[in-house]
């Protein structure tokens, strides 16, 4: 059986009286890349904060390498790479200073990995973090994580503020790094594009609840989008048992479901609805995410 690197049990948290989630359970296995996806405000950063020991949940607990995240030992912290939302780093330092600072804390510090990335990005050692663009900052943060060589990476909304090129660069580097070293990654994002290139497992959250927990590829295999036209434009498909999400523009219907094309067609026929232009649409992860969570 694969070892669970992260294990969260019965997490419940409130901000004041506002419930964020109740009895949330999930685990991340060694060597897996798990993406926590959800809309803004559904509790992604809350989960990251709990994992990093910057928030005590109202109840439940999270374990990393078997240690409670409320009390991580220095050794466990050393195995853990952490990217703060917005690629925050010490802006008063320059490229050279920041490397010098971090190098003292990690036994396996890989200086070359960091400076190689910096030179590839044409970032000068004397350049200050505060004078960098968001994309450059992301590369500095990535370079530092690569140099640290952690066993577990926790990345909070790494895609924030990155243009598509930088995002792709980040994703590709991360995937290559994680897979080559059998590293475990837990990340959150509210931008789903490019995510299927990266993640193995997915945890999709909506306000107060978990919509999906499992393998990303399995999900993409089982989850479908169908479009068809009906004669009438006043049919409500949302209440059907097989519907996960449905939408309609005039008499053109979109249906997101775990059911097969035959099952959908049978359901329509059973209701006496004549359909035409019935098609299965090929989805990206982003499409599937919207299909699962709705557009708003």
């Amino acid at each position: 059986m694969e070892e669970n690197i992260i294990e969260c049990k019965n997490l419940t948290h409130y901000y004041g009286k506002r419930l964020i989630y109740e009895n949330l359970n999930f685990s991340v296995k060694k060597g897996h890349i798990m993406g926590l996806l959800g809309k803004n405000g559904c509790g992604k950063t809350t989960t990251i904060n709990i994992l990093n020991g910057f928030l005590q949940p109202r109840s439940g607990e999270c374990l990393i390498y078997g240690e409670s995240t409320q009390n991580l030992s220095p050794d466990t912290k050393r195995r853990l790479g952490y990217l703060i939302e917005g690629h925050i780093q010490y802006s008063f330092m320059n490229i050279y200073q920041i490397e010098k600072f971090y190098s003292g804390f990690y036994k396996n510090w890989n200086r070359e990995a960091y400076f190689e990335l910096m030179s590839r990005m044409k970032i000068l050692p004397s350049q200050k973090v505060s004078s960098m663009s968001c994309g450059q900052r992301a590369q500095v943060a990535l370079g530092l994580i690569l140099a640290q060589d952690p066993d577990l990476l926790i990345l909070d909304d790494f895609s924030l503020g990155l243009d598509p090129g930088y995002r792709r660069l980040f994703v590709d580097h991360m995937r290559e790094y994680a897979k080559a070293g059998n590293k475990t990654v837990f990340l959150t994002s509210h931008i789903i594009q490019d995510m299927e290139r990266l993640i193995d497992d997915v945890l999709i959250m909506d306000y107060n609840r978990v919509l999906l927990r499992g393998s990303a590829s399995e999900f993409m295999e089982k989850f479908h989008q169908f479009t068809f036209d009906l004669e009438r434009d006043d049919i409500n498909l949302k209440d059907e048992a097989l519907t996960v999400e449905a939408d309609r523009i005039k008499n053109h219907y979109e249906l997101y479901t775990y059911a097969s094309a035959e099952e959908v067609q049978a359901t329509l026929a059973a209701k006496g609805l004549a359909f035409s232009e019935f098609k299965q649409v090929k989805m990206t992860l982003e499409d599937a995410f919207i299909g699962l969570t709705g557009k708003y």
Partner: protein, 225 residues
């Protein structure tokens, strides 16, 4: 590891320290230019009579240094903690592979040592020059009146550290009020004041806030908002 942590603190504070020490030295220089001028104009004996027995307000040649320790405490504190508070960078620091308490107290220790070092440079120069112009008794009188002011700088530094770690803006404001009235008590004395009997009380008031970091950092780590 601790040296690397100190390296980070040094990068944050070095320019502020440099400027505040420079300002302190400039004030000391001005004070002794004035003393030298007075000695030349009035003669040593007459000037010393003025300093010891003149109308007090006219003779406190060292009044200008009263708030220098406070300024030093504020500068070291703000330069050290403001960059950590902006964008909650303190999370990066607390993520370093050390115990949180050790990390926080090493930062505090660095700031305190820097404060002491700045005191040593500025007030060391002051007393060196003071001994050139005045007898020991005058230096002693200045030292006793200076002690509360030096402690005031320490108190303000610890209070800034404590307030910075507090996650809630409203409570930061309340602690700010407490800090104001606490620090005020160190600066009510005049320039020739025998403070020996109250130094223990003031020292307690200055050093007790160094523990407060444990309270606000605990609130931060537990995710209070």
């Amino acid at each position: 590891m601790i040296l690397h942590l100190f390296y980070k603190e040094w990068l944050k504070t070095r320019w502020f320290l440099f400027f505040v020490v420079l300002l302190g030295l400039a004030i000391v220089t001005y004070i002794f230019l004035d003393v030298d001028n007075n000695v030349r104009m009035k003669g040593s004996f007459n000037y010393l009579m003025n300093v010891f027995y003149g109308i007090p307000q006219a003779n406190y040649y060292h009044s200008l240094i009263k708030y220098v320790p406070l300024l030093m405490g504020v500068c070291v504190g703000l330069s050290q903690y403001v960059p950590e508070v902006i964008d909650k960078r303190i999370k990066l620091t607390l993520h370093l592979p050390m115990h949180n308490t050790v990390t926080l107290y090493m930062m505090l220790c660095f700031g305190f040592l820097m404060l002491l070092a700045s005191y040593a440079v500025v007030f060391g120069t002051f007393f060196y020059l003071n001994n050139l112009y005045f007898p020991f008794e005058e230096s002693w009188a200045v030292l006793t009146s200076l002690m509360p002011w030096l402690l005031g700088g320490v108190a303000v530094y610890f209070m800034i550290a404590m307030i910075s770690m507090e996650p809630n803006l409203f409570y930061q404001f309340l602690y700010g009020i407490v800090a104001f009235f606490l620090v005020k008590q160190f600066y009510i004395g005049m320039e020739h004041a025998d403070t020996r009997h109250i130094i223990p009380a003031l020292a307690i008031m200055a050093f007790v806030p160094c523990t407060a970091l444990l309270y606000t950092s605990y609130r931060f780590i537990k995710g209070e908002r």
